[in-house]
Symmetry: C2
Subunit: 143 residues, 2 copies
DNA sequence: GTATTAAATGCAATTGATTTGCATTATCAA
DNA sequence: TTGATAATGCAAATCAATTGCATTTAATAC
């Protein structure tokens, strides 16, 4: 389950320019290890990158998405997109609609997608499962 | 599997005002029977509703969503939200990333969500499964 | 029907996320 | 070290969606 690469290795592997800004974004995403929005990334790394602009974050997240380095997530009733590093373990998300906490869940599909492909004559390229609910803590707090 | 209600019945049931604009939106959504964006709805009904504004569509789609009349959908790489009428048959979506065609697929979950609830101590309220791929026609056309 | 009242609509302006154009700067390969 | 190419900073623009407010309309009581 060897998965970790340094930002500069991730970039080199894709022949992407190894810039300070890109390294900072990847380093943060790796450290936080949870989905983050462009703004969250921006506010967490701007102190160490004085002239950094939000547009640079957006541009790089798009580059990373095209290069399969990050995955963009839509969350119901949340306007900003979230981004997570793509790792080896394929998973989905369980999201608390009260506190917003996101946790990974295993992919429950075994041969379901193969069957779906054949049945519908599709070539399946991606799938997303998102489960929404109220987490234990929020239930207790009656939030 | 009796499911069909006239727009005025749908509105009355929820004690929502039965306006011309709301009826037009619901009538269209029922006739088209596929997810539509606010703009698509707007352009398809504006000829019969001269002073209709897009903001009225948005406001009503939000009202309908709160009242469980429509469901809002996010589609990867698509900026607008899509909306579909909620009917009895619970389903998910298979979307062609080439032509954008959306088709319903059965929900594959039996006791999976119950197990997930218990395992994670969550109260599950909603779930979305979206499968992306390339449809038969687009494969043939090599689009 | 008519009056009353609360809610919906039209309209214009605004918001907020994301993108883009362009001049400048930084990276990378030779 | 240099030159070519791509990334960044910065400001402005875009686009989906929302909002404030005056006016209109639907629902209810009379």
């Amino acid at each position: 389950m060897h998965d970790f690469l340094f930002p500069r290795e991730i970039l080199k592997k894709r022949k992407l320019k190894n810039t300070r800004q890109r390294r900072a974004i990847l380093k943060l995403m790796s450290a936080e290890n949870m989905p983050l929005s462009a703004k969250e990334i921006y506010y967490k790394i701007k102190d160490n990158n004085p002239h950094l602009k939000l547009s640079t974050i957006y541009r790089n997240l798009n580059v990373f998405e095209k290069n399969n380095i990050v995955r963009k997530l839509n969350i119901n009733n949340v306007t900003e997109s979230y981004f997570e590093l793509i790792k080896e373990n394929h998973h989905h998300h369980l999201i608390c609609i009260s506190c917003g906490h996101i946790q990974d869940i295993e992919c429950p599909f075994d041969d379901y997608l193969d069957k779906l492909e054949k049945k519908n004559n599709y070539e399946v390229t991606d799938h997303r499962l998102t489960v929404y609910g109220i987490c234990h803590q929020c239930k207790k707090d009656d939030k």
